[in-house]
Amino acid sequence: MPQTLAQKIIARAAGRETVRPGEVVTARVDLAMIHDSGGPRRVEPILRELGVGLFDPAKVVLISDHFVPGDTEEGARILALTRDWAREKGVAFHDGEGICHVVLPERGHLRPGMFVVGGDSHSPTGGAFGAYMFGIGATEMAGVLATGEIWIRVPETILIEWTGTLSPGVMAKDIMLALCGRLGMDGGRYQAVEYTGSAIAALDMQERMTLSNMAAELGAQTGLIAPDEVTAAHVTAAGGDPGDWQGLRSDPDATLVEHHRFDAATLAPQVAAPHSPANAMPVTEAPETAIDIAYIGACTGAKYTDLKAAADILRERKLAPGVTLAVAPASRRDQDRAAAEGIMGVFEGAGARILPTACGICAGYGADRLAPGTTCLSSTARNFRGRMGDPSARVWLASPMTVAASAIAGRIADPREFLGQAA
C-alpha cells in the first residue's frame, strides 16, 4: 500500500508496516520537548500523582522561553522551579538560549523521520526537518513522559504545492498568511499538511520552519516538508545525524485528501488584519494604517534569516517619528550570528529596542505587553485579541521585511518599495 510521509513515520513509531488514515494507533515517541510554561510546573504534579518518573530522560528536552527573563515575580518563580526540575531529572536543558522551536533543531535534537511531541502549539515547526512533530497539552505530556507513548489518529495528508519562485521582498511568512486567508484557520482540519514544490525546495531551513510553524494557524496537526540535501546538511551542521533520509517522502501514488497548487511568482507581500491570521490580504490592498509598534519577534519571525531580511530593508534608514521597533531575536545563537554580521548593529542604528531572546510580547506573559489602543505590526504567528496585551490593542501580522518597511514608513508599507535602493 503506498504511504504518505506522515503514514511512514507514524507506522514506524507504532511498530507497524503500514497504517491507514483514520485508524487510532499507539505510537512510541522518539523525543518529547517541553518548555517552562507547560512543562515542569504542570507535568510534575501529575507525575507525582501517578507515582512514576520519566520514561527516558535522554528523550526529553526542556527549554525555558515563555517566562524568560523572569521580569515578574510569578515568572521568576516558574523559572526557578523549571531549573530545579531540570537538575533533578537530568534532562537536556536549554535555559534562556532562545525559543524552543528554534533551539531544538539548532542543537541537533531533531532528525528526519522522528516522531516527536512538543508541549506547545507551534510544535509542527519540527515538520520542516521531516519529523512528525505536533503539539499536546500538559496532561497529555505527563502521560507521554510517564509511558513514552501516545494515541494518534492517523491523519490524511493535504498536499500544498508552491511552484515557481518567490519574488524579492516576499517571504515564507507571506506564503503562510496567504494560505491562512485562502484555506482558513481550520483548513488543515487537524490533518497533516505537506509542503512541496520548487518554491519550497528553494527555501533555506529557517524559512521552511516558518511554513511548518504556521501549519498551526491552518489548524493542521503538523506541517511536513520531505527532507532533502538542504535538510541533511543543516542537521549535520547542527551536530545531528540526518540518518537514512532518502526514503522519507510520500510515495507518488499515495492517497491525498486535498492537493492545492499555487504560483509563488504571483504572490505579493501579505498582511493580516486584527484579530485573525485568516484576515490576510496583499499589502497593496491594506487600508492606510498608522502603526505605533513594529515587532520583530517569535519563533515565527525572528530567526537569523528573518533578522537578516529585516535588516536588509532597514540598513541606513531611520524609524518613523513616534514608532517603536522592538526586536526579540529567536535564539541566542541567531542573535550572535546576526551581531557578528552587523545585522544587530543595523537595528541599533535605526533606533530599535532589543529585547531578550525569548517569547516576549508574543506570549504576553511578561512585563512587556501592548498598551491599550496600540496598533502593532508584528512578525509573529497570531494576532488574537488580547494575546499580546490589552484587548483594545490592534495587531496586524506581516513578514519581518514588511514590519521593517512599515517601521520606516510609520504606516503599513510594501517592503518592495525599499528594495535595492540606498536610503
Partner: protein
C-alpha cells in the same frame, strides 16, 4: 444529564477561554475571566451541568489546556460544536471533558434546557420537541472520559501493572 445551553459562534479561541493576561495566575483567575470577551456574564452565571454549543473550530489557538480545564471546573458538562481545533479536542478528552461534534446544530437557542445522552450521542431539547443526533465518540476515547480523563486512566493502568506482577 440536564443543563442550560450557552450558545457561542465560530472560532472561539484559547485566548477567549483562558485569557493570556491571567495565565500567570492560577486556574481560579482564569475561570473568573473565561469567555468574558464574548460572554461577559459567563463565569458568573454558569451552573454545573450547563452545556456549551458552538460553531466551527472551537478551541483554536494555543495548547494551553487551562482552556478546557476552566470549562470543566466551571461545571460545563460537555462542549458540542460543528468542529474542534485538534489540540483543544485532545486536551478536553484527556481532562475528561466530553467534546462532541454534530453534523447540524440548527434550532438550538441560547438559554434552552437540554438533556445530553453521551452513550446514545443525542442532545434533546424538550421545550422545542427537538432531538439532535451527535457524532458518537470512538470507543477508546469514551473509555478515557469514563475513567475521568488520562490521569485517572493511567492510574488504573499502573495499578493493574503493579498489581498483576
Amino acid at each position: 444529564m440536564t443543563g442550560r445551553i450557552f450558545l457561542l459562534g465560530d472560532d472561539i479561541d484559547t485566548d477567549q477561554l483562558a485569557p493570556g493576561q491571567y495565565m500567570r495566575g492560577g486556574i481560579e483567575a482564569i475561570m473568573a475571566h473565561c469567555l468574558e470577551a464574548v460572554r461577559p456574564d459567563f463565569a458568573s452565571s454558569v451552573r454545573p451541568g450547563d452545556i456549551l454549543v458552538a460553531g466551527r473550530n472551537f478551541g483554536l489557538g494555543s495548547s494551553r489546556e487551562q482552556a478546557a480545564e476552566a470549562l470543566k471546573r466551571l461545571g460545563i458538562a460537555a462542549v458540542i460544536a460543528r468542529s474542534f481545533a485538534g489540540i483543544f479536542y485532545r486536551n478536553a478528552i484527556n481532562l475528561g471533558l466530553p467534546v462532541l461534534t454534530a453534523p447540524s446544530l440548527d434550532g438550538v437557542q441560547d438559554g434552552d434546557m437540554a438533556e445530553l445522552d453521551l452513550d446514545a450521542a443525542t442532545l434533546s431539547l424538550p421545550e422545542r420537541g427537538l432531538t439532535l443526533q451527535l457524532d458518537p465518540l470512538p470507543g477508546n476515547l469514551r473509555a478515557l472520559i469514563a475513567d475521568g480523563g488520562l490521569v485517572a486512566h493511567l492510574k488504573k493502568r499502573f495499578a493493574r501493572e503493579t498489581g498483576g506482577s
